[in-house]
């Protein structure tokens, strides 16, 4: 299986995703340049990494959807290709209409970089099949705009279809406002589309894919995908 990591000019977690997948998870991975208008045919999963794609002085991710590579990425995903947006990547997915909802400013109005606990809400996806349902993982967030918002009917649809994959929770797995780091509705940290081939999440699994950095709970997400393909 092969991963492609998109490099926008303001991506800054592109190296990190590349390292977590290539070195920590031991999979094939290559970079995809934002000006490219083709995606190599051997790519199975595309990562939209964290960062500030085009500076994000407007809404985060709003310019990225116009880049040449995104046309191809949308094509790729519409044909069932696996597409995962982390942090800024999640913002790009909602801006591009690939996932519903929007990421608003954190309720604190401050950027927040810290560890959070996530509860696995659905392990029946190719991103989470290495987990059991209700497993708890510790993953860091690092964002100023991670407050997930959508209309009530969209939220209901997401919940009814089991599209909410990760929720912010306490170290014991309790979902409450106290453990909601940014104000997201229903403590939503990550969702998939209906077909479950597109995942968007605010926390950074690539940052905790290495024991040396204090935790490797994140690597299971990449290993889930690798297991699906190998």
């Amino acid at each position: 299986m092969k991963f492609g990591v998109v490099v926008f000019p303001g991506s800054n977690c592109d190296h990190d995703a590349f390292y977590a997948i290539g070195t920590n998870a031991g999979a094939n991975v290559q970079y995809l340049w934002h000006k490219d208008s083709t995606i190599p045919s051997d790519i199975d999963c595309i990562i939209l990494p964290g960062g500030f794609s085009y500076g994000d002085y407007l809404r985060c991710g709003s310019i990225a959807k116009y880049s040449p590579i995104m046309r191809e990425v949308i094509n790729f995903a519409s044909k069932g290709g696996y597409l995962m947006g982390i942090c800024n990547g999640f913002q790009i997915l909602t801006e591009s209409g690939l996932l519903p909802g929007a990421l608003l400013r954190n309720t604190s109005l401050n950027f927040a970089c810290k560890d959070v606990f996530l509860r696995i809400e659905n392990n029946d996806t190719f991103y989470t099949n290495n987990f059991s349902r209700s497993d708890l993982i510790r993953i860091p967030i690092a964002h100023g705009e991670g407050n997930y918002f959508a209309e009530p009917e969209t939220i209901k649809e997401l919940e009814d279809n089991d599209q909410v994959i990760f929720r912010y929770c306490s170290p014991e797995g309790i979902i409450s406002d106290e453990y909601n780091p940014n104000g997201s509705i229903n403590n939503i940290a990550g969702i998939v589309n209906k077909n479950k081939n597109i995942l968007g999440l605010m926390p950074h699994p690539e940052r905790y894919s290495d024991e040396l950095l204090g935790c490797n709970d994140g690597i299971a997400i990449f290993l889930s995908l690798i297991r699906r393909f190998n």
């Binding site: 800054n12 085009y54 927040a112 690539e206 950095l213």
Partner: protein, 754 residues
């Protein structure tokens, strides 16, 4: 670019307005300096020329009042690959073909009047210094100082500065991993914002800020040039605050971290491509500084046509273009014939590149604008090391020292203070309490190298050299420096070294940011000279040469100077990351020891400040040989895997060190401590050269043996227990209680209305 760009009929030097001594004084030069300029030139300078001299001979660019002193510091040798000040940042060999570039710089004055942009561009400036060396930034730190956290103005400054750092560093993609924050009245009007950056580079891929090769083209890359930042270096940074300072807000630059990210990628790719002859970032004094410094160092000159510089506004004069401090720009000299490679790389990253000049062989800066030659100066006449002035100022021992040194602590009522209450007060002091509110706004993990930000120093792994890492920190207790500049400067170096040692690293080199008041004040200058003497002595003993840094004078307002604040940025190397160490208690029943000497000193302590609102007494004694013994022994214990934690004593003394070890433990581990004399001095005094360790029973004999062999005092004081924290049953709390006090103190003050 074609040859007609530099053929001008009229070879006379055009001046927009007539220049005289008054013009020079308005630009911050002295009468003597103006006379010197006229003498060097053999004529009256043009308006553009006097502007260039004004910035280049400013305190900020020329180091005119500090360089003679700085030259007494150990500035080469050891692992240093370039001498201090020779390049944009220091360069330290870490083996295996790699080097660490690092430097600290102040952005105090801009941050005082526009905290968000001031701090943001401070970060931007220091990052450019690192990547113009060819090094990719891997860590940033910040040393910040504000007035006491009891006013809306301090809150405004703190929030603005933190947002600025967070905005710039997070977007650029450098992890902000450490630093320090202090609140002290003397910084009320004059906060300090010192930004440090650290980068890694292959030793055969470094770049130099030197121009060479007659006929080689000179390019400007990055952002266009606007009217922001004019007079930033000369008039804002190089004088005190007064009632006019607020009007100087337009001299503060505006930062664009996205542009900086593109500039980073393009610069590194340009350097790796081998087409770059020389490269220097444009910070203070913009085009003036980069063209003159690069030329002078390469003993060449440049012909520069300002009509070719991409501008944000039409009709900018030569003076404005030469002095603009617009951010995110670099000056590069390209190997003639290979320009297209450079142009293609910049195109890839969508950053503007424009040739603005060529290298000449006669050492002159010839500057043209609108068909006129507006400046013709010897590059050498402008720069430090050339004709820029160097002064030795008069120094007089400050009056206040007679009072502070002779302060008798028996005249104040210390004995009636309840120790338990004092302990909680100290834990709640903003100078001691958790800085989580600040550091969680910084992305501390991007680039996935951050092994720890919890301990005394941040630990960063090096992906390029698996298994190897660095530890970095910034340190300065300016109270000690105020009470004894010589000892205090030594203590700053010692504490910085001690902090990287507590992470398991060997200290290898420092960078410094020297923040002082007005150098023309004899007492301030005495403080400065004493600090340099102390720093030099300490760095020689520790074998940690000074790789460079920055001097910021004129940090005062209404005749009140700040405490002398020489911030030390320390680099330590961890050869084997398996042997790293951290501050927090690890296991129940581990025994707790103090390594080092307790002198029960009260001078300059947070305890005395809180209870008596005084910064007084003798600064804590620092015996360098003892300190070196302590650090070497601690490293020996860490490397033999005999201890489970190490954390030094600093503000708040032994009691606070123990509290921090408990609060940072993941498993709610506290301690039961029994001291022979649990006095305020023993608990809260800030004697230097002490490290608190914890260790398993089976290692105790071995630890004692090593300490005995090294002649280092070792005192067993208690053991690690679950959930509770107690000292002689006089101080007794749950670890949860301690944590809640420690974590909530600063957020509570920030949310409070004053």
């Amino acid at each position: 670019m074609n040859s007609s760009d530099f053929s001008f009929k009229n070879n006379e030097i055009f001046s927009e307005t007539e220049v005289n001594e008054t013009t020079a004084l308005e630009l911050g030069l002295t009468e003597d300096e103006y006379r010197q300029i006229v003498k060097v030139l053999g004529r009256t300078p043009s308006y553009t020329e006097i502007g260039i001299y004004g910035v280049m001979w400013s305190e900020h660019c020329s180091y005119k009042n500090s360089i003679k002193q700085l030259k007494t510091l150990p500035r080469s040798g050891g692992r240093l690959l370039v001498e201090a000040g020779a390049e944009n940042a220091g360069l330290v060999d870490i083996g295996n073909g790699y080097a660490i570039a690092f430097k600290i710089e102040s952005h105090n004055h801009p941050s005082a009047i526009e905290p968000f942009e001031g701090a943001a561009t401070g970060v931007g400036g220091i990052l450019r210094d690192i990547f113009s060396m060819g090094a990719r930034p891997i860590a940033a730190l910040n040393s910040l100082r504000f007035g006491e956290l009891n006013s809306e103005r301090t809150k405004f400054l703190l929030k603005g500065v933190v947002h600025g750092i967070s905005h710039y560093g997070n977007s650029f993609g450098v992890p902000t991993v450490g630093g320090e924050i202090y609140f002290e009245k003397c910084y009320q009007d004059n906060p300090l914002v010192n930004a440090m950056a650290v980068g890694i580079v292959r030793t055969d891929k470094t770049a130099t800020a030197t121009a060479s090769g007659e006929g080689n083209p000179v390019f400007i890359i990055g952002s266009s040039t606007g009217r922001d930042g004019i007079h930033g270096a000369s008039l804002l940074a190089s004088r005190e605050f007064d009632e006019k300072t607020d009007d100087m807000r337009p001299t503060v630059q505006v930062g664009d971290p996205f542009a900086e990210k593109l500039l980073l990628e393009a610069s590194i790719e340009l350097i790796e491509s081998g087409v770059i002859v020389g490269i220097q970032d444009m910070g203070a004094a913009g085009i003036s500084c980069s063209t003159s410094e690069m030329s002078a160092k390469g003993e060449v000159g440049m012909d520069v046509n300002l009509d070719l510089v991409p501008l944000r506004e039409k009709n900018m004069s030569a003076y404005e273009i030469m002095l603009s401090e617009s951010q995110e720009r670099m000056l590069i000299i390209v190997d003639k014939g290979r320009e297209q490679i450079a142009i293609d790389i910049c195109k890839k990253w969508d950053i503007p590149i424009k040739q603005i000049g060529v290298i000449n062989g006669n050492g002159k800066l010839n500057i043209f604008r609108n068909g006129n030659k507006v400046a013709e100066l010897n590059a050498d006449s402008l720069v430090l090391g050339g004709s820029a002035p160097q002064y030795d100022r008069e120094a007089v021992r400050p009056e206040y020292l007679n009072e502070t040194e002779n302060f008798d602590f028996s005249t104040i009522d210390i004995n009636s203070i309840n120790l338990s209450e004092a302990f909680i007060k100290l834990l709640n002091s903003p100078n001691i309490a958790s800085k989580r509110w600040v550091y969680e706004q910084y992305d501390s993990q991007v680039r996935t190298n951050t092994v720890s930000i919890k301990g005394d120093a941040a630990i960063i792994r090096l992906k390029e050299l698996p298994g190897k890492g660095i530890a970095v920190c910034t340190d300065c207790n300016s109270r000690y420096v105020y009470l004894n500049p010589y000892q205090g400067a030594m203590a700053s170096v010692a504490e910085a070294a001690r902090n990287v040692v507590c992470a398991g690293a060997t200290p290898v080199a420092i960078t410094n940011c020297l923040n002082f008041g007005n150098p023309y004040d004899k007492e301030v200058y005495w403080q400065f000279k004493e600090v340099i003497r102390g720093m030099g002595d300490a760095c020689r003993k520790f074998n940690t040469p000074v790789t460079g840094g920055n001097v910021s004078f004129h940090n005062e307002s209404q005749k009140h100077a700040i405490f002398p604040t020489p911030v030390i940025g320390m680099l330590g190397v961890i050869e084997n990351l398996d042997l790293r160490s951290s501050a927090d208690f690890k296991n129940e029943n581990d025994k707790i020891f103090v390594l080092g000497w307790d002198r029960e000193e009260f001078g300059g302590s947070e305890f005395i400040k809180i209870y008596f609102n005084k910064v007084t007494g003798q600064a804590p004694v620092l015996d360098i040989d003892n300190e070196i013994n302590l650090q070497a022994t601690t490293l020996e214990l860490i490397n033999q895997k005999l201890i489970n934690s190490a954390h030094d004593c600093s503000e708040g003394g032994l009691a606070i060190t123990l509290a921090e070890k408990a609060i940072s433990s993941g498993a709610n581990l506290g301690c039961k401590i029994v001291l022979e004399n649990a006095t305020a001095a023993a608990l809260f005094g800030e004697s230097q050269s002490r490290i608190v360790i914890s260790a398993a029973d089976e290692n105790i004999e071995k630890i004692k043996e090593i300490c005995l062999k090294n002649n280092l005092p070792l005192l067993q004081i208690g053991e690690v227990v679950k959930n509770t924290f107690s000292i002689n049953n006089e101080i007794e709390f749950s670890v949860e209680d301690l944590r809640s006090n420690y974590e909530n103190a600063i957020p509570n003050l920030i949310n409070k209305k004053f």
